[in-house]
């Protein structure tokens, strides 16, 4: 019973964006949709939504009656299903269906937007008229029919999640629980959270494209609570991907459980590091959060076309050492952030943001691409049919560099190495960003020594890029279930990085002396 809507602006900071790894988010669905009976559709997605070519054309025509540079209909059907294991039993399930169509008109950089959950002609026409009210020009010619583009193959499934019964999932949750409990006698409680989902989108555009995409998603999270000598500690781990049931092998689940248990138990020994500036080593994988916050958001072109990003005047300039290359890439099979097409119906692919230290390209949606006279980079994403798209990241990572992890550790006299994170945030204009380190280690005289926990790290994007003095050759993408929030919209993302050294960052901690 949410009434938060009434105060949703209360915590909104100007020009900031947030990355979180919530331990337990909504997951995904079970219910089959029956098509609304209408004239014989040809495309299976049209069948799914009960919308035929003529209907889509009629709505598009209404949407663009007062003029448009671009317009789209974004049909979406998302089903989610979650299961919760707490206190030894799987006693809670949730399922959800979210279905609707978003209607958008764009004129220059102006957007008119409406949506409806009612996919009947009168409801869609009414929404179209509402969205078109931003425009005041003359009618443009809407297509009579839409040309279906081939569907992508980044995350095809043999068995959709809707066909996987609870009886198949329960043993997975129990396996994870038993495995965790068996690993250490101090473990008092284990909770397991399961989520799966199928999302179907169909995008019809003013320039006549019809794009369809079936996007699966799944995630399992394990939360471990342990008690030693009257002290309690909690830790967790999760894995997520655009995958199907068979992805959950015993090996993969066991690795996740081991991580969660390790992260929990080490906290009994971990302390806060001394506060202040010091060299920070970011371990490979999850430390990609650095890229997401320090540069990724600032490279989203909506901030730059408005001049509000610290990177607004930096394209073509040297921003980092020649061994630093930072990429946002959507076409990595089955990653959580992967996309065949973005939510404006453009093929999603690879955008090199920093190449050998030179700032190369922003992440564009159609609005910013038109303004800059460039092709869109396929970066227009939205949380759902309820929102207009904007430039977003997909899978963001740094490519391998010339050093090794051992060389990097050996090079630090007094600093820390960070391994796991819960969340980050960035201030787009000032370029200041933070990420919260859940687990890490002190590095003293070139050696990893004592464990640390719960410190926020803060830095400035361009400064931190300049201060990346070493990059190792062990790049990997994190399989954690990251969710990125921007202007109130959440989208799944992936991130990765090789082990890197940032020569100076401000580390939260305790003041010595």
């Amino acid at each position: 019973m949410t009434i938060k809507r009434r105060e949703f602006l209360g915590h909104m900071a100007a020009g900031s964006a947030v990355l979180t790894m919530p331990a337990f988010l909504q997951g995904c669905g079970v219910q089959g949709a029956t098509a609304v009976s209408q004239a014989t559709p040809q495309n299976p997605f049209m069948n799914w939504f009960g919308v035929d070519q003529a209907t889509a054309a009629r709505v598009m025509s209404e949407l663009t009656l007062r003029g448009a540079d671009a317009a789209d209909l974004y049909f979406q059907h998302a089903r989610t299903n979650t299961l919760t294991l707490e206190d030894g039993i799987v006693s809670t399930a949730n399922s959800g269906i979210d279905q609707g169509v978003g209607l958008r008109v764009v004129i220059g950089d102006q957007t008119g937007y409406a949506f409806t959950e009612d996919l009947t002609m009168p409801a869609m026409l009414a929404a179209a008229r509402t969205a078109s009210s931003i425009a005041s020009g003359s009618t443009v010619t809407a297509p009579q029919a839409f040309n279906p583009l081939g569907s992508g193959d980044l995350y095809t499934t043999t068995v959709p999640w809707s066909d996987v019964g609870i009886d198949q999932k329960l043993p997975v949750l129990r396996f994870v629980e038993q495995k965790a409990k068996s690993m250490d006698p101090s473990i008092e409680k284990v909770a397991v959270y399961w989520a799966d989902g199928d999302e179907r989108v169909m995008i019809a555009t003013l320039d006549g494209r019809l794009v369809t995409d079936h996007r699966p998603m799944t995630r399992v999270t394990v939360v471990v609570t342990a008690k030693k000598n009257g002290e309690t500690q909690t830790g967790y781990s999760n894995i997520a991907a655009r995958e199907e049931f068979g992805w959950y092998t015993e090996e993969r689940l066991t690795k996740m459980v081991e991580e969660a248990v390790d992260r929990t138990l080490i906290q009994f020994e971990a302390r806060r590091p001394p506060a202040g500036e010091m060299p920070v080593i970011l371990a490979s994988g999850p430390s990609g959060i650095l890229l997401h916050e320090a540069i990724g958001h600032g490279m989203e072109a909506d901030f730059n076309r408005k001049g509000t990003s610290i990177y607004s005047d930096m394209v073509g300039k040297k921003v980092a050492a020649p061994f630093v290359t930072v990429v946002d890439q959507a076409d990595i099979p089955r990653e959580r952030g992967a996309l065949n097409y973005d939510d404006e119906g453009n093929k999603a692919g690879r955008t090199v943001m920093v190449e050998n230290g030179i700032l190369k390209s922003y992440l564009h949606d159609e609005i910013s691409a038109r303004q800059y006279g460039l092709k869109p980079t396929g970066s227009g994403r939205r949380e759902s049919y309820k929102y207009a798209p904007m430039p977003r990241m997909t899978c963001t990572f740094m490519e391998d560099g010339p050093h090794t992890r051992d060389e990097i550790i050996a090079a630090v006299d007094h600093g820390i190495i960070c391994e796991t994170y819960t969340n980050g945030q960035v201030q787009i204009g000032a370029g200041d960003y933070t990420f919260y380190v859940k687990n890490g280690w002190l590095v003293e005289k070139g050696k990893i020594t004592a464990p640390i926990k719960d410190v926020n790290i803060i830095g400035n994007g361009p400064e931190s890029l300049e201060r990346i003095t070493m990059v190792a050759n062990d790049a990997r993408l994190d399989t954690g279930g990251w969710t990125c929030g921007k202007n109130g919209q959440s989208v799944p993302v992936s991130q990765g990085i090789p082990t890197v050294l940032v020569s100076k960052m401000t580390v939260g901690g305790e003041n010595v002396g």
Binding site: A14, A93, G112, I310
Partner: protein, 438 residues
């Protein structure tokens, strides 16, 4: 309208029982939301939407599940609910999962919460544009302004709830918010930015748009020339807007759920003097025009005044019925309403004068807290306090500590409440806080 939503909820409950549920609790929602965004002299975005949804909780054979859909097509809804019951039956039995006992529905307050302003539904396009132009005019009137985005957000929310054991209720509310975010040219490539938004259920209660924009501009201008602050242990003054968020972090784990799951530093604190005697926090669901005011909560429990902390002593936790049964605690409510912080005597200027030297925090940037231990570390922006006054702007700093310890070192509480939040907090002063910076 309320009757229509209650009927929809009642039909869903009936469908669930026909499909084999022992008990069910449903609520139907409807909302209209309008958004105008205006940037640098021109309208940038208009969004106007009407949305609906149905949520149902199903109890069958000592099993429980919850479901929600936006697809209200009658046949598909019937299939959806039948499947919801089937999902429930496939789970494991849980003796603690029971529908809210009917006695908790009793004593529902009838106070007029004044949450609906009919004028909100009647706000015209011209009115929104006038507000936009007023915000934008003030916001962009400065040589250093790169860009300002102003927004108007208004709407209406209605819900109807029905349970199989006798609950029936409706809640409606309206909201109208406006404000602006401003980005200014600063040193080199840096931009200084901040914003300010005001909101109310009632259009007539809003401050003038031009005043809201002035506040936003003042906050953005205050960021110009911000530098990294020092690494130091000193006094922290948190302004009322940032205080509301800090209180939110403190209260996050004050629930029976967190305690039962072994994930709360509030465990065993009820009845103890856990915090500074300057700290009083009450959950008050019956404040007229409160952002989280209500007659009943999501489980149908009748709303009542609930002291959480009185002069530092913990009185109550947030207890939902399920975790109440599991822990043996009496249910209060599982979800916060308005959180009201007890006020002190001094205004912000007097607090700063009293403190003399320290760090004045105006906003947080990222950071987190461990609910189990209370350990936290937060990024911040603000100013140095120099000779009892607001001094140079600082940022790129962290504050690190433990929430229980921090709130035991609350030294002073202001009398200046930030009104645009369901957490009504004043400025707060904490002694001996660890900051990291340059």
């Amino acid at each position: 309208m309320s009757a229509e939503l209650r009927d929809r909820a009642a039909q869903a409950v009936e469908m669930a029982q026909r499909a084999g549920a022992d008990e069910a609790f449903a609520f139907a929602t409807k909302s209209r939301d309008v958004e105008f965004q205006f940037r640098d002299g021109a309208l940038e975005k208009v969004k106007d939407t009407t949305s609906r949804g149905l949520n149902i909780e199903v109890y069958a054979n000592d099993r429980f599940s919850s479901h929600q859909t936006t697809d209200l097509h009658p046949e598909r809804l019937q299939d959806f609910i039948a499947e919801a019951v089937a999902i429930t039956r496939a789970l494991e039995p849980d003796e603690f999962r029971k529908i809210t006992p009917a006695e908790l529905f009793r004593g529902r307050p009838s106070d007029d919460l004044d949450l609906v302003d009919p004028a909100v539904a009647a706000i015209s396009r011209e009115q929104r544009l006038e507000w936009c132009r007023s915000l934008d005019g003030v916001a962009t009137d400065h040589a250093k302004v790169i860009s300002a985005t102003s927004g108007i957000y208004d709407g209406t929310y209605e819900s109807g709830s029905v349970s199989s054991n006798g609950f029936s209720g409706s809640q409606s509310s309206t909201y109208c918010w406006y404000g602006t975010s401003i980005t200014l040219k600063d040193e080199g490539d840096r931009r200084a930015s901040d914003g300010f938004y005001a909101g109310s259920p009632h259009v007539g209660q809003l401050p003038a748009a031009s005043d809201v924009a002035r506040e936003a501009k003042q906050r953005a201008l205050a960021r110009l020339g911000s530098e990294k602050g020092p690494t130091v242990k000193t006094t922290m003054v948190v302004d009322s807007r940032a205080a509301a968020q800090l209180i939110g972090r403190l209260m996050n784990a004050a629930t029976a759920r967190h305690v039962q799951q072994g994930q709360s530093f509030w465990t065993d604190l009820v009845g103890t003097q856990a915090f500074s005697d300057k700290l009083t926090i009450v959950d008050d669901p019956l404040i007229p025009r409160g952002f989280a005011s209500r007659h009943f909560d999501g489980e149908g429990i009748s709303a009542r005044y609930l002291p959480i902390i009185e002069a530092g002593e913990v009185r109550n936790l947030y207890v939902d019925t399920y975790h109440g049964r599991k822990t043996g605690m009496k249910p209060t409510t599982g979800s916060p309403s308005n959180r009201v912080i007890g006020l002190g005597d001094l205004g912000l200027d007097e607090l700063l004068a009293d403190v003399g030297d320290g760090v004045y925090v105006t906003s947080w940037l990222g950071g987190n807290a461990d609910n189990t231990t209370g350990d936290f570390s937060l990024g911040l922006r603000g100013h140095m306090i120099e000779h009892g006054k607001i001094g140079r702007p600082v940022g790129e700093m962290n504050v690190t500590g433990n929430l229980k310890d921090l709130f035991s070192r609350l030294e002073l509480v202001g009398n200046d409440v930030y009104p645009y939040s369901s957490t009504l907090a004043p400025s707060l002063v904490f002694g001996g806080v660890d900051f990291s910076g340059a």
